[in-house]
C-alpha cells in the first residue's frame, strides 16, 4: 500500500510499504477513503512535532476491510470515522467521555506506525475507536463525507473549545484564530446557542467570507493589544464570558485572556507552543482556563445527526482537494496559507 512519509525539512514522499494485517483480536483494518491535513501535522512539518522520518496524518474515514475475532460493533464493508486517537471504549476515562485519556489509547504514527495519510491502517480497539455514520454501516452521500471527516478532529476540536468554555444560549463568544479549528469553533458556538460570535485575528479576506458562512457576526483583523481594544469597543467594555483560543501561540493565548470578562472562561484547544500563563493575571478577575485535547470520539455520535441533516456543514474548511501523490503540494500550500485545510482523496 502507499503511505505518506515525512522526512524532516518540509520534505514529504509517498512510498510503498507492506499493508496492515490483523494483529490483535480487537483490531480492524480500514481502507482509507479521505484524510485531512491537520494544524498539528503542520507543526510536525515545521520541525516542532514528531521525529522524522515518520508516517503522518490522523483524521481519516474509510471502509472496514477486515475485523479481528473480538470485534463486534463493525463488520467488513461498514463506512467508519476514525478519531485522531484510538481508545479502548471500556476504561474509566472512556466511560466518562474523556477518550483522549484512555489508558490503552494512543496516537497514530506514534505508538504504532499506522497513520491517516495512507491507503489503509490497522485500528487497535476497533470497538472503542471506530464510529459509523449509520447504525447499519452504510456509506453516507459523498456530499456530507468531508463534514463527517471533520468530526474525527478539526470540528470536534472547535466544539470542545466551545463546550469547555461553557457556551450556551444567548452568549457573546469571541473566537481567537482564523484557522480551520477557529472556523469550526465559530460554527460550534452557534450550534450551542451563542447569540453573537466575534472572530478575532482573522487577517485574510477569503477567511472572512468563510467565517461569516460559519456564523461569525463580527470579524476583527487586529491582533494582540489592538485586538483587545477592538473587542472592548465592540462589546461596550463588557468583553466576553466565553473566549475560544484556537491557535496555541503565546500571543493568542495572552490575547484571549485579556478579552475575557471577569468570571469568564477561556476555552482553549490550540496545542500550546511556548504558552506560559501568569496565574496572577487570572486571579483577580476569576478567569478560568479549560479545554485541552478534544475527546473527539465522545462528541461524534452527538454531532453526526446535525451533519447528516445538513444543519451544519463543517466540511467547508477543506477548501482544496489533493490526491495522496500530491501530499507534498498539500503541505506546502497549507504552510504558506494558500489553503485553509487540504482534503486528501484516496477514492
Amino acid at each position: 500500500m502507499k503511505t505518506a512519509i515525512y522526512h524532516g525539512n518540509k520534505t514529504m514522499t509517498v512510498e510503498d510499504v507492506p499493508g496492515p494485517v490483523i494483529e490483535q483480536p480487537t483490531d480492524a483494518i480500514v481502507d482509507i477513503e479521505y484524510a485531512g491535513v491537520c494544524g498539528s501535522d503542520l507543526w510536525t512539518y515545521r520541525g516542532q512535532g514528531a521525529q522524522a522520518p515518520c508516517r503522518i496524518g490522523h483524521e481519516f474515514v474509510g471502509i472496514v476491510r477486515e475485523v479481528g475475532a473480538d470485534v463486534s460493533s463493525v463488520k467488513p464493508g461498514d463506512w467508519v470515522m476514525v478519531p485522531f486517537r484510538w481508545s479502548d471504549g471500556t476504561c474509566e476515562y472512556c466511560r466518562r467521555g474523556l477518550e483522549t485519556s484512555c489508558v490503552h489509547g494512543g496516537f497514530w504514527s506514534r505508538e504504532i506506525p499506522w497513520a491517516g495519510q495512507a491507503e489503509a491502517a490497522r485500528i487497535p480497539y476497533a470497538d472503542g475507536t471506530l464510529v459509523k455514520a449509520y447504525d447499519d454501516g452504510h456509506r453516507p452521500d459523498d456530499a456530507v463525507i468531508p463534514s463527517l471527516l471533520t468530526l474525527t478532529d478539526v470540528f470536534t476540536t472547535g466544539y470542545h473549545a466551545a463546550v469547555s468554555a461553557g457556551v450556551g444560549d444567548g452568549d457573546t463568544v469571541i473566537v481567537v484564530g482564523d484557522g480551520a479549528v477557529g472556523l469550526s469553533a465559530i460554527m460550534a458556538a452557534k450550534l450551542l446557542g451563542a447569540a453573537r460570535v466575534i472572530n478575532a485575528g482573522s487577517t485574510h479576506e477569503e477567511r472572512h467570507a468563510l467565517a461569516r458562512t460559519f456564523g461569525a457576526d463580527d470579524i476583527i483583523s487586529t491582533r494582540g493589544e489592538d485586538a483587545v481594544a477592538d473587542i472592548r469597543s465592540l462589546t461596550d467594555g463588557a468583553m466576553a464570558s466565553r473566549v475560544l483560543e484556537c491557535v496555541g501561540s503565546a500571543q493568542s493565548f495572552s490575547t484571549a485572556i485579556d478579552m475575557a470578562a471577569p468570571g469568564g472562561t477561556v476555552g482553549y484547544v490550540g496545542l500550546p507552543h511556548g504558552v506560559s500563563i501568569d496565574a496572577k493575571r487570572l486571579f483577580f478577575s476569576n478567569i478560568r482556563i479549560a479545554g485541552g485535547m478534544s475527546p473527539a470520539h465522545h462528541y461524534i455520535a452527538d454531532l453526526v445527526p446535525s451533519v447528516l441533516s445538513g444543519s451544519i456543514n463543517p466540511g467547508f474548511v477543506y477548501n482544496r482537494t489533493y490526491t495522496l501523490d500530491q501530499i507534498g503540494q498539500a503541505y506546502d500550500d497549507m504552510d504558506n496559507r494558500r489553503v485553509i485545510k487540504p482534503l486528501i482523496r484516496l477514492v
Copy 2:
C-alpha cells in the same frame, strides 16, 4: 481612634488617628469588635504586598455606629460582617455573584485608608457590603463570632476553592496547603459532600490535628514530587478530579496540577506569587484551572446558617487571641508559624 500601621521591615505600630466620619450618603461607620490577620497581610509584612507605610487588615466584624442617608439595609447597633472587599451590590458583577469584580468595589487600605486592624472604619456602599448575622441585626453569641469572622475572608476563600473545583457528593478531594485557607478548604470540601479529603503538604503536628478536626481523612507531610508519589499511592494511581491549591507558590501550584486526574480541576485561591503555568502540562489531560479571588460577599448569606447552627466551626483557625496593642507580636508569631492565624480582639 487606634489603628495598626505597617512601616515596612516587619515593623508594626499602633497609633492614634482621627476616626472615620460619614462622607457619602451610602457610607456606614462600623466600630470593630474582632479582626483577623490574613495570609495576604503576611505577604505585605514580608515586603511583597502593599506599599508601607499603610494601615492593614481586611477581615473584620463589628457594630454599626452610624449610617448615611441612603443606607437602608443596616442601622446603628446592628452586628455586621465586613467582607475583604467592599462592593456596591447593584452592578452587573454584584448581581451575578462576583462582587470581587464590582465596578465600584475596592480594597481596604488601598483606595481608602480605612482597614480592619483598627477600632473603627468607614464602609463605602454599606448596603452592598455589610452582611448581618441575623435579619434583625442582633449580636450573635460570642462562641460563634470567630466562625462568622472567617466568612469575611478565610473560610469563604477555602470554600471558593472547593466550589471552583466543582466539589460534589462522593468526590475525592486533595487540599494542598496547611495554612488557614487550606484548613478552611478541607472543611468546605466536606460541607459540599466530599467523601474523602487528603491534605497535602502539612508538615506541623499541631496542624495535623486541626486538619483532622476540619475533616481531613488522610494527611501527607511531603511536598513536590514526593507528595505527588504519595498521592499516587494513596489513590491507587487515580489521583483526584478536584485539587484545591491553597498556597499560591510556584511549587504548590505545580504540585496541585500533577495531582489532578485527567479531566480534573485545580481550584486555586492562594494569591499567586511567581506562578507561571505551562499550558502544555494542562493540555493532554484536560486539566482545568479555576478560582481566583473569592467573592466572599456572595457566599456569606448561604454559610451563616451552618455557622449559627454549629454544624461548621471554621473559627478554630484562629488559634490565638491578641489585643490591638499586641499586633506586632501577632504578625511575628504568624510569620514564624507559631500561630496558624491570629484573632485581634477589640472588645
